[in-house]
C-alpha cells in the first residue's frame, strides 16, 4: 500500500465532502474523493506524458482522417 501523509482541511469542507460521498456514491470515503480530485487536477498540469493512450490516439487519428482534417 502506498505511503500516506496526513493533510488538514477545514472541518466545514470535510463535512460537505462527507455528505457528498454518502449521498453520491462512487467514492468510498472522503480520502478517496480527495485523492481522486487531486490526481485529476494535477494530471492536467502534467503535459504530454498524461495524454491519451496509444489506442485512443489511433482511434482519434482514424476519425480525424475520416473527417478530412488529415
Amino acid at each position: 500500500m502506498a505511503e500516506k501523509v496526513c493533510v488538514e482541511i477545514s472541518k466545514e469542507l470535510y463535512e460537505k465532502a462527507k455528505k457528498f460521498v454518502e449521498e453520491q456514491g462512487g467514492f468510498g470515503s472522503v480520502e478517496e474523493l480527495v485523492e481522486f480530485l487531486l490526481e485529476e487536477a494535477l494530471a492536467a498540469e502534467g503535459g504530454e506524458e498524461h495524454s491519451m493512450s496509444k489506442e485512443d490516439e489511433e482511434k482519434v487519428k482514424e476519425r480525424l482522417r475520416a473527417l478530412g482534417y488529415i
Binding site: 453520491q24 504530454e48 495524454s51 476519425r63 480525424l64 478530412g68 482534417y69
Partner: protein, 452 residues
C-alpha cells in the same frame, strides 16, 4: 463576487456571415431576430482557419503560435509521423479558467479540444475529439453518469464523408438532438453564470451538404431531400434555442459566434505530386500507389528530397533540413533560400485551365508574435482556400474535382460571426466591423466582468 447577469454563448462551428447576418437560407428566424438586436462583428479567424486551434484561440486570447497549435496534428522535427493534440496541449488560461477563479460558475459544453476534461469551477462536457462515451468526458467526473441517465449517452461526432447522405442526415439530426437535450438539461438544472456551448453539427452539415444548399457552388445540385438538410438543421437549432432562451432570465447576455466561415470547395490540388513534378520531392523508383494513398516515409528517396507536404484544410510543407531531419539534405545555410524559392513556386501554381490563383505560403514567424511547439516550415493556402490541398498521392492528375478523403464539398473561409446581444441595451445594435478571433476573449471579459 456575483455576476448580475448571465452570459450564454452559442457557438455554431463554421457559421458564415452570409447565413447568419445576410439571410442566406431559411431556418434561423429567431436567431436572426436576436442578431438584428446585437452588436455584430465580422469575425476574422486565425491562421490556420480550422476548428482546432480556432476555438481555443478565441477562448484563450492567444494566437496559434503562442499556443503552439497549428492544427490537430503536428510533427516533431526529425519524425515523419505525427501526434494529435488534446486539451493537455493547451497551456494557456482560458476565459472559463479566469471566470471560475473570480467566483463565477461556468458550464463548458463541446468546446474543441477539451478532452481530457480539466477541472473547472462549474461543469464541463468534452467535445468531438473524445475517443468515446466510455471515457471520462465530464467534469466533475460523476456528471457523466447523471447526464447519461437524464438524457442518453453522448454522441460526440458523426462520419459525414459517406455517399449514403440519407444516413448522414439521420445521424446528424440524432447527434444534434443529443447535444440539445444535454445542453438544455445542464442549462436549466445547473447553476451557472457563463455557459459556453459549441455545436459541431453545423460544421458537419456544411461539409456534407453545402453543394445542395449554396446556389453559388460550382457543383450545385438541387435535391429533393439533401437540399433541405442544412435549412432543417438551422430550423432545429433555432427552435431549440428559442425554447431555451425563454427559460433563461430575460437579462441574459447572448453571444453567437463561429470559429471560421465556410464556402464551396472548387477542387483539391495534389501537393506532393506537384512537389515531385517540381523536383522538390523524389519518390523511390517502383513506388506504385493507388489514387488516394497516403505518402509513407519508406516511399521517399530522402537523399534527393528537399520538401514534402501535408494536406487537409490547409497545407503544411516541411523542408528536409540537414541536422534536423533523419536524412536531411538541405544545408542550414541554404534553408532561407530554399524556403523562399519554394514559396515563389507555390505562389505561381495556377488552376487546371491556367487560371490565376491567389496562393499564399507563410513562414509561421510572419504570422504570430511567438512561435511555440512544432510549426511547419511553410503554411500554404491555395487559391485563397478555394482549393483544398490533398496530401495523398497516386492520382492521374494534380487537380481533383472531388475531395481526396471522401465526399465533402466545402472548405473553410476566413470570416465567421461574432454577435453580442445585450437585452439591457448597453451595446450598440449595429455592424461594428471586423474583430480578430484572438481579441474576442478580452471583449467578452469586459462584458462578463464589468457589468454588475
Amino acid at each position: 463576487m456575483e455576476l448580475a447577469r448571465r452570459v450564454f454563448f452559442l457557438g455554431l462551428d463554421s457559421m458564415p456571415p452570409k447565413v447568419l447576418y445576410e439571410g442566406m437560407g431559411e431556418g434561423f428566424d429567431y436567431l436572426r431576430g436576436i442578431v438584428e438586436e446585437s452588436q455584430r462583428f465580422l469575425m476574422r479567424t486565425c491562421h490556420p482557419p480550422i476548428t482546432v486551434p480556432a476555438w481555443m484561440v478565441m477562448f484563450t486570447g492567444k494566437t496559434p503560435g503562442e499556443l503552439g497549435i497549428y492544427g490537430f496534428r503536428h510533427r516533431r522535427p526529425g519524425e515523419f509521423g505525427y501526434y494529435i493534440v488534446n486539451s493537455r496541449f493547451i497551456r494557456a488560461e482560458t476565459l472559463w479558467d479566469k471566470a471560475g477563479r473570480d467566483g463565477l460558475r461556468v458550464g463548458v459544453y463541446g468546446v474543441p479540444p477539451t478532452y481530457p476534461p480539466k477541472p473547472v469551477h462549474g461543469f464541463m462536457v468534452t467535445d468531438f475529439t473524445t475517443p468515446g462515451p466510455e471515457k471520462p468526458y465530464t467534469f466533475p467526473p460523476w456528471l457523466r453518469r447523471e447526464l447519461e441517465q437524464a438524457t442518453e449517452p453522448t454522441i460526440f461526432d458523426i462520419l459525414y464523408r459517406s455517399s449514403d447522405k440519407d444516413k448522414v442526415a439521420r445521424e446528424l439530426f440524432r447527434m444534434l438532438s443529443n447535444h440539445q437535450r444535454q445542453v438544455e438539461y445542464l442549462a436549466t438544472r445547473k447553476q451557472w453564470d457563463l455557459f459556453l456551448y459549441v455545436e459541431i453539427a453545423v460544421d458537419r452539415a456544411h461539409h456534407a451538404f453545402w453543394k445542395y444548399f449554396d446556389h453559388g457552388h460550382p457543383r450545385y445540385e438541387q435535391h429533393p431531400r439533401y437540399s433541405s438538410v442544412i435549412p432543417e438543421l438551422y430550423r432545429r437549432i433555432d427552435e431549440w434555442f428559442e425554447k431555451l432562451h425563454r427559460r433563461l432570465p430575460r437579462d441574459t447576455v447572448i453571444v453567437i459566434a463561429s470559429d471560421h466561415g465556410i464556402k464551396p470547395m472548387k477542387g483539391a490540388f495534389v501537393m506532393n505530386q506537384w512537389l515531385a513534378e517540381q523536383g522538390y520531392l523524389k519518390l523511390k523508383p517502383g513506388v506504385e500507389a493507388k489514387p488516394g494513398t497516403d505518402l509513407r516515409e519508406d516511399m521517399i528517396d530522402w537523399d534527393s528530397t528537399v520538401a514534402w507536404a501535408w494536406g487537409g484544410y490547409y497545407s503544411r510543407v516541411f523542408i528536409n533540413l540537414k541536422g534536423r531531419e533523419k536524412r536531411g539534405i538541405v544545408e542550414p545555410k541554404y534553408y532561407e533560400e530554399t524556403v523562399n524559392q519554394l514559396r515563389r513556386d507555390i505562389e505561381r501554381i495556377r488552376g487546371p485551365s491556367g487560371e490565376g490563383w491567389v496562393n499564399k505560403a507563410y513562414r509561421p514567424q510572419e504570422l504570430y508574435p511567438e512561435v511555440k511547439g512544432d510549426p511547419p516550415d511553410l503554411m500554404v493556402y491555395l487559391d485563397d482556400l478555394n482549393w483544398r490541398p490533398a496530401g495523398t498521392i497516386g492520382w492521374p492528375t494534380l487537380y481533383l474535382s472531388e475531395n481526396d478523403r471522401g465526399p465533402d464539398d466545402a472548405v473553410h473561409d476566413w470570416i465567421g460571426v461574432y454577435a453580442v446581444y445585450d437585452p439591457e441595451g448597453t451595446l450598440s445594435k449595429s455592424d461594428v466591423g471586423v474583430m480578430d478571433i484572438h481579441r474576442i476573449r478580452r471583449h467578452l471579459e469586459e462584458i462578463i466582468f464589468s457589468r454588475r
